[in-house]
Symmetry: C2
Subunit: 105 residues, 2 copies
């Protein structure tokens, strides 16, 4: 789906148990209706020069920017953000209305 996207790419700190973070995210997206879809992945290509140390991508989709704003302000997100921020070494966030050029059939 198109909609409004919240893209997070990170490098976790070395001692972080990524599974625990993922469990927290799964809970988060199940609790907040505004999150219409959520998928993630761990880079397997390991092109270190072009990955710049980032290893994981998280992509959430909202119906529109209002949905995203509701998510950001939701108490569960505020609480999770505190946990998340202590786990990361590097992060890039991009938030954008998605433009679909070729749609999945």
């Amino acid at each position: 789906m198109a909609g409004f996207k919240h893209l997070v790419i990170v490098k976790f700190k070395e001692d972080v148990v990524v599974e625990d973070i993922l469990k927290g995210m799964q809970k988060l997206v199940s609790e907040i209706d505004a999150v219409k879809s959520f998928e993630w992945g761990q880079d397997i290509e390991g092109e270190e020069m072009l990955g710049q140390g980032f290893t994981h991508a998280f992509l959430m989709t909202f119906e529109d920017k209002q949905g995203y704003t509701a998510f950001v302000g939701h108490p569960c997100h505020v609480e999770f953000s505190t946990t998340f921020s202590t786990a990361i070494d590097k992060i890039v966030l991009l938030d954008f209305p998605s433009v679909v050029v070729k749609a999945a059939t």
Copy 2:
């Protein structure tokens, strides 16, 4: 859809006409069947600290890693990559099998 994802986030050089790059990408994904879906967006939040200067995200989906490998080796991609690489100031690539936690309904 889940599948295998190719995520590219970039900061373009200042004199680059992004529309021209986008036209090239549209042509590329229309020419290569292995690309099952393609969407992109320009960050509108402008949280400079957390965007780290990156402004655009491009996300392609393939059926599987084989589809991605076919795309990378396709002559049209090889040609486009040369153009693309001259246009960018910064780039991060992440390639991963997508794990869908919450599916769009």
